[in-house]
């Protein structure tokens, strides 16, 4: 097993160990990473907009359930 495989195995073990937490504790973890997830999504939207023809630095059409309506499955 090389270094990368050992790293992945450690990661998998850690991730699986999170399963044993209570549901409320998992929800609290999700709440704690929320700002990071929002930042990632904002960056992704900005990249998407800047790649559109005719778009350069326009404000991103961010839609995280907080703005304009959207249609999606959860």
């Amino acid at each position: 097993m090389n270094e990368i495989e050992r790293l992945l195995e450690r990661q998998a073990v850690w991730q699986q160990s999170r399963r044993t937490l209570s549901w409320p504790e998992k929800i609290r973890l999700a709440e704690r990473v929320r700002p990071t997830v929002e930042a990632f999504r904002l960056q992704r939207e900005q990249r998407r907009v800047s790649c559109l023809p005719g778009e350069t630095s326009a404000p991103p059409a961010v839609n995280r359930g907080l703005g304009t309506p959207r249609t999606r499955m959860p």
Partner: protein, 174 residues
């Protein structure tokens, strides 16, 4: 009060007052009851409403929330940190999921939640990459078996979707 507990209290009050006949959390926040934590920004709630043919089917829900200080933002209602999206049951699968929902305990507050097999089959029916990841996570957590998902998928007319999923993700895992 913690945000998700606040969501549970609001939903229970909504059901007790008859604004919704029933509700159940689904999506990523529900998945986490059975798997490891996953990143999510909102809470998705299946609802059965007393008057599903109304043009503004969610109107009474939004009014109920507004009367308690929870404002609509886009297609969600903000409850603390959580945008809560209400999804009226829209087919037999979601009706069955709501009927079979379990009552979980969230730090002392009852919280209706879609069970793992229905969560998996709803994800199967949606069919996006993150839905496939959800099915795999539920299977790998041991909260559902392939046989249970296959059986429910068959009952809901989703055998083809299950076959495609199996061929793509399960046969190549080992």
């Amino acid at each position: 009060m913690e945000p998700v507990k606040e969501v549970a209290v609001l939903l229970n009050a909504m059901r007790d007052s008859g604004v919704v006949a029933d509700y159940a959390l689904f999506g990523a926040a529900a998945q986490m009851r059975y798997t490891e934590p996953v990143a999510t920004l909102d809470a998705d709630v299946l609802v059965a409403v007393p008057a599903p043919d109304r043009l503004d089917v969610l109107g009474p829900i939004y009014e109920f929330c507004r009367a308690r200080g929870y404002e609509a933002e886009g297609e969600s209602v903000r409850v603390g940190a959580w945008p809560v999206q209400f999804v009226p049951v829209f087919n037999q699968l979601t009706r069955d999921a709501l009927a079979a929902a379990e009552t979980a305990d969230f730090d002392g507050v009852p919280f209706r939640i879609v069970g793992p097999t229905h969560l998996a089959v709803i994800a199967l029916s949606a069919g996006r990459a993150k839905d496939s990841a959800r099915v795999l996570a539920l299977l790998e957590s041991g909260s559902v078996t392939q046989e249970q998902v296959a059986a429910l998928a068959a009952r809901e007319g989703l055998s083809d979707a299950w076959t495609r999923f199996s061929l793509r993700f399960l046969d190549e895992r080992d």
